[in-house]
């Protein structure tokens, strides 16, 4: 019963006779104060490490090159007027979407393979398949760079050994783009695998048994049981990976430095080149903020969908 309804039927009391109610309010207030104080470290961290840098980046993006005058959104206008930047938008989208799709598909396939292995063997395979994800990407990308090296590629050596032609992995625009995607997929697929494996393990076996009794095929089981049950984790994983992949820097930086002819530049590498190396910090900030509205929009709808499905399940 709500406190208000009891108050409605209770006889009126003089103010002095209502200390418990005030005490309750004070207590509630005290509890919120305590709660606030307890969350203050987290709020400080978010304010200091997220809100402040983001606000400062937005502020920087509105300044002129010398950072002496406010120019509003002109940096964005300048960027959209630039052919190289328009190519960067296309390349970033191509890179992020292709890489995330491949990571999701490979991760899903690996998770299924692992899920159907006996528990004992599964641990070993799971550990091995996670290795790419735990190696710092700058380091592993260096290893890939040696394999793709323009002059001494070990992959080309193997190709030549079986009579194949040398491939200009980093020198030709499309091969360079494919190389960057290969490394990103190699690095990121284990993350999808482990998330999907956890989701698969949470699907009740009884659902598959019931479906099998009803004569459902394996594909129908996947289509009507597995995918719906994994929908939330797939949405969140894809969203998370999309954001991280759009912000990827180290792979492009180490592997191609954006070349040849800027045809492998993505937002982060181009922002660093324009902002820090070329000394145009406001324009670099504008580059790095460019995808923020779109990603925020996507994130809002994906998370809204997840919440709706959670409510329906509850």
């Amino acid at each position: 019963m709500a406190p208000d309804s009891s108050a409605a039927v209770a006889p009126a009391r003089p103010p002095a006779a209502r200390p418990p109610s005030n005490a309750m309010k004070r207590f509630a207030r005290r509890r919120s104060t305590i709660a606030f104080l307890m969350t203050l470290p987290l709020i400080s961290v978010i304010a200091g490490l997220v809100a402040w840098p983001a606000s400062y980046a937005i502020y920087l993006a509105t300044l002129n090159r010398r950072m002496t005058a406010f120019i509003g959104l002109e940096n964005f206008d300048i960027l959209l007027d630039n052919e190289t930047f328009r190519a960067v938008i296309w390349q970033s989208c191509f890179f992020a979407i292709t890489a995330v799709l491949l990571k999701a598909l490979i991760g899903f396939w690996l998770a299924h393979m692992l899920h159907h292995l006996p528990t004992k063997g599964q641990r070993k395979w799971r550990g091995m398949l996670l290795v790419p994800w735990v190696i710092p990407p700058a380091l592993s990308t260096l290893g890939w760079w040696w394999m793709f090296d323009p002059s001494y590629s070990s992959i080309n050596y193997l190709l030549n050994a079986i009579g194949g032609p040398s491939i200009p992995w980093l020198g030709s625009p499309w091969w360079a783009r494919i190389s960057v995607i290969i490394v990103n997929v190699w690095y990121g697929a284990p993350f999808f695998m482990i998330m999907y494996l956890a989701a698969l393990k949470s699907v009740p076996e009884q659902l598959y048994e019931a479906a099998a009794i009803d004569g459902a095929s394996g594909w129908q089981g996947l289509r009507h049981i597995t995918l719906p049950m994994m929908q939330n984790i797939i949405s969140i994983t894809v969203l998370f990976s999309l954001i991280v992949t759009f912000a990827n820097y180290d792979i492009v930086r180490v592997l191609t430095n954006g070349g040849p002819r800027d045809l492998t530049q993505v937002f982060a590498s181009y922002a660093f080149q324009v902002g820090v190396l070329s000394g145009n910090i406001p324009r670099g900030a504008a580059v790095s903020l460019f995808m923020f509205p779109l990603l925020a929009f996507i994130a809002y709808f994906v998370l809204k969908g997840v919440n709706q499905r959670n409510k329906e399940m509850a």
Partner: protein
């Protein structure tokens, strides 16, 4: 509670201070002085022991002046030095002075202390300073940094004289001997001769190792090629001078022609790829400081003993040598600016510049023409005299150049970092555009950079 002014808290605080000092101390601390302290960030030399000269000079000067000098050496791998400078300029705190890459002097000119007094005394003593260094360091009529010896490099041609003689018929040792004279054929050492030699060596399987990507080695040599043809893409105000620029068109066409005789993957080469090409014995020529030769001396001595450094080829407008200087700036927000300037003047004295160059095995180039006669360039071997022609000497009849000169620093730095000169060639040679289309793209790109 305190006794004799010592509290438990003070003791703990002192202990923490000592511990922090142990962890955070700069790698070098010199003579404990009474005239204050000085902190410098210098470029971390790639040559083993290359920083030793600066350490020794700092010790010597610190003891003389009773100043505590600490030096940090920061490398340019992953652009750490550039990031440090950017962070210090933004936060207005950090070292008293710092090594700056060529265009950073202009980028931070309003945050750097003028050093005209130091330059005035040095020029009075040693004669004219390198004009490229002056172009990069002088802003608003004031010198904003002292051109450095440590890290400053030329990029002449390092040639496999045996391969060049055998396949292109050019005797580079006779042409540019290890003395101050020009030999037979020196006058014909032009970019046209160069392309012909490149074609012959390419056919023989020893292509010239010339990067065409977005790293500094590529931008620098193409910059010298453009300068040789008088192919400036902007004027001193930054206004593009591309439309109808016949000199630029000729230079681009030569670059495209030359690229056909280079390895097919040069578009992705970094600053180490040309070194590897030389050291592996696959290449007859690279444009580089003696670092490629020095690594060959260690790893492939049979290659090193057949290398000979000669000036870059000449174009119709003269012979230009790619030059990449470091500058040491004193932050305007530094705490000990007077001592910092005094220290920079000290390390630029001839005997100290020579000590720095000697420690680097001849790699470092001092900013004064009067300092191109150090013994190290005559005596280094094998073969003796191999880097005699590494510094620019009067008989070369050449000038140093930096790509995109004479554009203003803030525009030139963007064009340099974004490698517009190699990209314009690549758009034709690799992208299939016509020269006119590529030049039109170049103009649009520069106009866009000038906005904001």
């Amino acid at each position: 509670m305190t006794k004799n002014g010592t509290s438990r808290r003070n003791v703990l605080r002192s202990g923490a201070g000592v511990a922090a000092a142990g962890v955070l101390a700069a790698p070098m601390v010199h003579a404990q002085g009474t005239a204050g302290s000085l902190r410098f960030a210098f470029w971390d030399h790639w040559v083993p022991g290359g920083n030793d000269a600066l350490k020794e000079l700092a010790t010597k000067w610190g003891e003389q002046k009773r100043v505590t000098v600490s030096l940090d050496f920061i490398n340019t791998t992953g652009n750490q030095l550039q990031l440090t400078a950017a962070a210090q300029a933004q936060s207005r705190s950090g070292h008293d002075g710092i090594s700056l890459t060529p265009w950073d002097v202009g980028a931070y000119s309003d945050k750097l202390e003028p050093v005209d007094d130091v330059i005035g005394r040095l020029v009075g003593k040693y004669g004219p300073i390198n004009p490229v260094a002056e172009f990069l360091c002088k802003h608003g009529g004031k010198w904003r940094g002292v051109p450095a010896t440590s890290g400053t490099q030329n990029k002449p041609a390092c040639v496999r004289f045996d391969l060049m003689l055998e396949h292109a018929g050019i005797d580079v040792r006779a042409m540019w001997p290890a003395n101050n004279t020009r030999g037979p054929g020196a006058d014909n050492w032009t970019w046209e001769t160069f392309v012909t030699a490149a074609e012959k060596c390419h056919k023989a399987g020893f292509s010239f190792g010339l990067p065409m990507g977005q790293f500094s080695d590529a931008v620098d040599w193409v910059g010298a090629l453009f300068a040789g043809y008088g192919a400036h893409i902007t004027d001193a105000t930054g206004k593009p001078t591309i439309r109808g620029n016949a000199k630029l068109k000729t230079a681009i066409e030569l670059g495209v022609r030359l690229s056909r005789f280079l390895p097919s993957d040069v578009w992705a080469w970094d600053d180490a790829s040309n070194n590897r090409a030389l050291i592996s014995g696959r290449s007859a020529l690279v444009f580089n400081p003696p670092s490629a030769w020095a690594v060959a001396k260690r790893d492939a001595p049979q290659v090193a003993e057949k290398c000979w450094t000669i000036p870059m080829p000449a174009g119709p407008e003269g012979r230009f040598l790619a030059y990449l200087p470091f500058t040491t700036g004193v932050w305007a927000f530094g705490r000990n600016k007077t001592a910092a300037k005094e220290f920079l003047e000290f390390i630029t004295q001839r005997e100290n510049a020579e000590a720095i160059t000697n420690k680097s095995g001849g790699y470092d180039i001092p900013p004064f023409a009067s300092m191109t006669d150090f013994k190290v360039w005559e005596t280094t071997s094998p073969p003796v005299g191999t880097i005699f022609n590494y510094p620019l000497k009067p008989h070369h009849q050449a000038r140093t150049s930096i790509a995109f000169e004479p554009a203003p620093a803030e525009l030139a730095s963007q064009m340099y970092i974004q490698a517009l000169n190699t990209k314009v060639i690549a758009r034709v040679a690799q992208g299939g555009e016509t020269v006119d289309q590529a030049m039109a793209w170049l103009e649009r790109e520069i106009n866009n950079m000038r906005r904001g």
